[in-house]
């Protein structure tokens, strides 16, 4: 029986194993993503991966084998917009971290969702700036002593999926790296939806984040995700106090509307 996973063919195999820390959720996302592309039967030559800077950016760059655009910190969605307008029939997929997409890149996230440009955005939320050693991110919970908040984070944290919904995303969902089967289904939907599709993936960082919160193994986090996740359908009938410290997972919105490059092409047709 072969020892190599058949889906390794979707990765740049010559540089494996990954440089991800032991138990990094980013690796799980890479795994599920490869499954999603495979199950959808998508030809990798029709994909462009765009990403910014951070540990999560290593999922598409360099590991996933496709045309890759590894850009400036926070700007992946802006670059991806240009790629999509020129290549509307290709799958333009942004995979990057919470700091990258929603801190420095927040403005681009909001406007891409508002335009409903046909990008697929996977936001890997590990609640920390891991690559640079553990600084607080907009999703670091209040009270956590990150390297730039050594007396405890004074800021409340962000709900990125709600931000995407409010900005106008066609498809927005949140899962964790424990809920891999639901995540796989959701990633497949996000990839095939026409409009702006967004999936937030709560992911473990047992090293840079783990040391701040006393969880040093991947399993510590996955147990937490398993125990504190509530599906959005159930959460709808729960009170705010009951939902404190819980992770609401599920599909938040799934409705198609006119996609941006379609609107642009319509104008061109009309004018010519």
């Amino acid at each position: 029986m072969s020892k190599k996973h058949p889906l390794l063919k979707y990765l740049r195999e010559e540089i494996l194993p990954t440089v991800f820390c032991t138990g990094c959720g980013g690796g799980t996302v890479l795994n599920v993503y490869a499954h999603a592309i495979d199950e959808l039967g998508i030809d990798p030559t029709t994909i462009v991966s765009v990403t910014g800077i951070g540990c999560s950016s290593w999922i598409p760059s360099p590991y996933y084998k496709a045309d890759t655009l590894h850009v400036l910190h926070g700007r992946a969605i802006a670059f991806a917009t240009g790629v999509k307008i020129k290549k509307p029939d290709m799958k333009i997929i942004v995979i990057a971290g919470d700091g990258d997409i929603a801190a420095i890149g927040g403005n681009h996230l909001i406007h891409a969702a508002r335009r409903n440009i046909g990008l697929t955005v996977f936001l890997i939320n590990n609640s920390i700036y891991a690559m640079t050693g553990g600084q607080a991110s907009p999703s670091t919970p209040q009270g956590v002593p990150a390297t730039t908040t050594p007396y405890g984070n004074p800021e409340p944290s962000f709900d990125f999926t709600q931000l995407a919904v409010a900005s106008g995303a066609s498809y927005a969902a949140r899962w964790t790296t424990y809920h891999v089967f639901s995540l796989l289904k959701s990633m497949k939907k996000a990839i095939t939806r026409k409009g702006f599709s967004f999936v937030e993936i709560i992911s473990q960082c047992p090293v840079s984040y783990g040391k701040m919160v006393g969880k040093r193994t991947a399993s510590d986090f996955l147990r937490l995700y398993k125990e504190s996740s509530i599906n959005i359908k159930k959460a709808a009938s729960m009170k705010e106090e009951e939902l404190e410290n819980k992770i609401v997972i599920g599909e938040f919105v799934d409705k198609e509307r006119e996609e941006f490059t379609e609107a642009l092409r319509k104008i061109n047709k009309r004018v010519q």
Binding site: M1, H5, L30, L222
Partner: protein, 85 residues
């Protein structure tokens, strides 16, 4: 961790699965050991070529082919294949 393993009985007509762990990729994170619903894996002292403690396949015959370990693995190091009978 698992709630099933103690009372589990193997159905003779069930599908059989083979498990392989790629020792060139495994980083010994223990997710498979901790989350397999049937406790197929366990810790071991074996150090793989990468220098990590590699999980041991304790009870391959109990594998139900759910593939939770295969999908969770951050390194795509686990392959579950149905054995053709």
């Amino acid at each position: 961790m698992s709630t099933l393993s103690k009372d589990f009985k193997i159905n003779k007509k069930a599908k059989i699965f083979e498990i392989a762990i790629d020792e060139d990729l495994c980083k010994g994170c223990s997710i498979c050991i901790d989350f397999c619903p049937r406790e197929v894996f366990e810790n071991s002292d074996k150090i793989n070529p990468r220098g990590y403690y590699q999980p041991k396949i304790k009870a391959e015959e109990k594998c139900s082919g759910c593939k939770l370990c295969e999908l969770l693995c951050p390194e795509l190091a686990i392959v579950i294949e149905e054995k053709q009978q």
